[in-house]
Amino acid sequence: MERIKHWAVENHDLAFAILLAVCVYTFFALSEPLFFTHRTGFAIMERFAVLGLVGLALTLCIIAGEIDLSIGSNAALAAVITVRFTDAWGAVNALLLALAISTAIGAIQGYFIAYLRVRAIVLTVGTLMLLRGVALFVAEEKTVMLTDFRIPDFISLKLGYFSPASILVVAMFVLVGLFMTFTRYGREIYAIGGARKEALASGISLQRPMIIVFAISGFCAGLGGVIIGLRSGTAQALGLQYLLLAGTVAAFIGGVSILGGKGGVIGAAIGTLTVNFLNTGLVFNVTPAFMVQMYLGILLLIVIMFQTGSRIFDDMERRKQLLRDVDRRRSILADRIADFRRRRAGTA
């Protein structure tokens, strides 16, 4: 118990995220008897597959102190490419092509962000539009569709609570988690996000972490798009824009800070689950889709207000600490200063 308490204090963001997830789950589990079923569990994991990827991608970006606005377009492009070329080349080839393109797009974005020294939001607004244009081009402005529906069936195959897609995503989480925690490159990503100036001063180059982050982000977006595309059998070039908001909410609930350098993969998973519980629960309550978006928006605003507030609070705490230090020094030095002043007065 003592150890749990210690852990919770050390990782209060994560502890808070877990608490929130449990609360949301319990609320819906109690109010909706159907919520606590195998089918719902499977549905939640299915949603987790896509949203988790986007949440993971945005978590990494925000850890690195940037944000990738092009994530929805990148996912839509991957979906369109996969669905469009599956008939001609087979699902695996189309899928690999889509993933390669998405990852390359991400890496190129990362390179340019580091090379041009622009903020990612600036560049990714541009690529958001650019990729959408490419996707429209590839799809020839139509909704592309699969003709072979065995693939969607395979993707959604039930293996307990999991499907092949969600297993893949969970594996992705584990891999990225290991990468971020145990490798030098992962630590560099935390460093350039937490304190960009200091990190550059201590000899880290901006380029490598940026390319890695945006390549992973592109890969996640692409994989998300591929899963959506193959699962539903259709893809639209202008779709998937809602992913950005949902993913950002998931990332922030998972404990990242807009200032960067904080958060992690476990947080991303928990944040995504919370958003999923909320989504699924609201669907049970027959809430229309736009209301879900509104709740997500409100949630994001609350998290941001909370973070801004805690920043102001931290500043106040820091000031208090400074004043305490000053007071401590004064009490230590009081005699010496008084003595010094007396002597000076004597000589003067």
Partner: protein, 509 residues
């Protein structure tokens, strides 16, 4: 072979535009030696450090390291060869653990490692800087500033350098922490490392350095053995001939009625509440080194630094500005020490810079009056010898000296009666310096009250009419014009009541 220095630089010159930062300067350090590098602000210390560390590659002269002529293309190359710099500003990532910070970048950082592994690997380096008791898993935010400086050095040691450059490691530290740094430097020497120790604190130089190299106006003196010197002779070497001509003549001042009475002002970081008066027509100097609290006092008077209490009595009003706006409205101008940060709008025209503080004065009903703006800024620009034809240019294209003149000159637009200036000539060439001094003196003669803070000992000796000295948040004393000598001031602002002794006993207990 034993007598050959480990690092030897001869005939080093470096120009920044019109400013010659180093003129044919020499530097050397032997194996296992602690070499002090001292000099006034702008004497070329930081340029020298940058050249040694490979940050600055655009110099002329010979660079010999370990018997070979070298030309490092980047800091990484220098580090690879065994030269490591601990910058004055910390480069630690506050959100990460001690061990992660030590193994962040550079050679010898394991590609895959758990936090526990890094912690075990970091332990010996922590011990070598005297931080054996610190848990390497702890995050940086939980350490004191002094400990952070030691971690910074531990990080350098992880790359096994032969020469360590410590650039003002104690500038922002309390006495307790400073002593730990000095202990660490001695420990490094025992381990056979060479240390270049850059400091303003002359007492420290005498405590630890074997030899001292003095830079003055970009020229180097031959290294002296520290034991041969005392504070006075070192100061003399640093200052050389006093450039008295640069400073305007000080006329006697009639101190009858103070313009501003500061009562019980207690800015954050200052030990006790302060009270002092400033008279019209005088320049009051606040003398003190970095971390002495003089910036905070000016900031508190201008509303940009928080204070626990107190008030300014000014023009029949008693108030404490909470934000810069409130001070500006009353005609109190504050020119901070960092013009790039909050003194200038670099991307905007000089004219807009000059009028930024007084938009109300040049506009009516919310509309700017272009003619009035031109007229008033042109007048103010003339006073600061800035060609009015240049007013439409961006402030960013100006040289350092002219930028400083704009940063100062913009305050004339509010016709201030109280002018607070922090480091009026940092990074400014000699010609512009003299002009700025003359302008400040003229403003005072016209009846303004000027409070100036500076760490430049020449400047603080020669410009003000009266000085209040500070040491680490403690007010030491007031020095009238007749007692204002460099030696006198230095004595007051460097450890006047031997705090070091107390800190040592406190540490031991």
């Amino acid at each position: 072979m034993a007598n050959q220095p480990l690092l030897e630089l001869t005939g080093i010159s470096r120009n920044y535009g019109a400013i010659q930062a180093l003129k044919d300067a020499n530097f050397e350090i032997g194996r296992g030696e602690i070499m002090g590098l001292v000099g006034e602000n702008g004497a070329g210390k930081s340029t020298m450090v940058k050249i040694i560390g490979g940050f600055d590659t655009d110099f002329t002269g010979e660079y010999i390291f370990d018997g070979q002529a070298r030309q490092f293309s980047s800091p990484a190359a220098a580090e690879h060869a065994g030269i490591a710099i601990a910058q004055q500003e910390l480069s630690l990532i506050p959100t990460m653990s001690v061990a992660e910070n030590i193994f962040l970048a550079g050679d010898g950082v394991p590609l895959i490692a758990s936090k526990g592994f890094l912690a075990r690997k970091a332990k010996p380096y922590l011990e070598r800087v005297g931080l054996g008791h610190v848990n390497p898993m702890r995050t940086i935010t939980r350490l004191s500033v002094g400990e952070r400086h030691l971690i910074e050095v531990a990080r350098l040691l992880a790359h096994d350098p032969q020469i360590l450059i410590l650039d003002e490691p104690t500038a922002a530290l309390g006495e307790t922490d400073s002593i730990r740094i000095l202990d660490m430097v001695n420990m490094l020497k025992k381990q056979g490392k060479s240390v270049i120790y850059v400091s303003h604190r002359l007492d420290e130089i005498f405590k630890i350095c074997d030899r001292v190299t003095v830079l003055r106006d970009g020229e180097s003196q031959d290294p002296r053995t520290a034991a041969e010197l005392d504070v006075n002779s070192l100061v003399e070497l640093m200052l050389g001939f006093e450039l008295g001509d640069m400073y305007p003549r000080r006329a006697p001042i009639q101190r009858t009625e103070p313009l501003v009475k500061v009562r019980g002002l207690w800015p954050d970081g200052i030990l006790e509440p302060l009270s002092f008066d400033v008279y019209p027509g005088e320049i009051l100097g606040l003398a003190g080194q970095l971390g002495s609290g003089t910036s905070e006092i000016l900031g508190a008077m201008a509303g940009s630094t928080k204070s626990r209490g107190g008030a300014l009595h000014y023009e029949g009003e008693e108030f404490l500005p909470r934000r810069p706006k409130e001070a500006i409205r009353r005609g109190i101008a504050h020119c901070s020490e960092d013009r790039k940060h909050d003194g200038l709008f670099l991307g905007r025209p000089i004219m807009e810079n000059m009028s930024a503080a007084a938009l109300e004065a040049i506009s009516g009903f919310g509309l700017l009056n272009g003619a009035r703006e031109k007229q008033s800024t042109a007048g103010n620009a003339m006073k600061f010898t800035i060609d009015p034809k240049r007013l439409p240019q961006e402030a960013g294209v100006l040289s350092g000296g002219n930028q400083q003149k704009v940063a100062l000159g913009k305050w004339l637009s509010i016709a201030p009666r109280v002018i607070l200036v922090n480091e009026p000539t940092r990074g400014v060439d000699v010609g512009a310096r003299a002009e700025i001094y003359q302008i400040l003196r003229d403003l005072a003669d016209q009846g303004a009250a000027i409070v100036m803070a500076s760490t430049d000992i020449q400047e603080i000796t020669n410009l003000p009419d009266r000085i209040i000295s500070f040491y680490r948040g403690v007010r030491i004393g007031e020095i009238p014009l007749e007692d204002m000598t460099s030696a006198n001031i230095l004595e007051q602002i460097t450890d006047p009541f031997h705090e070091a002794g107390i800190a040592a006993t406190e540490n031991a207990s």
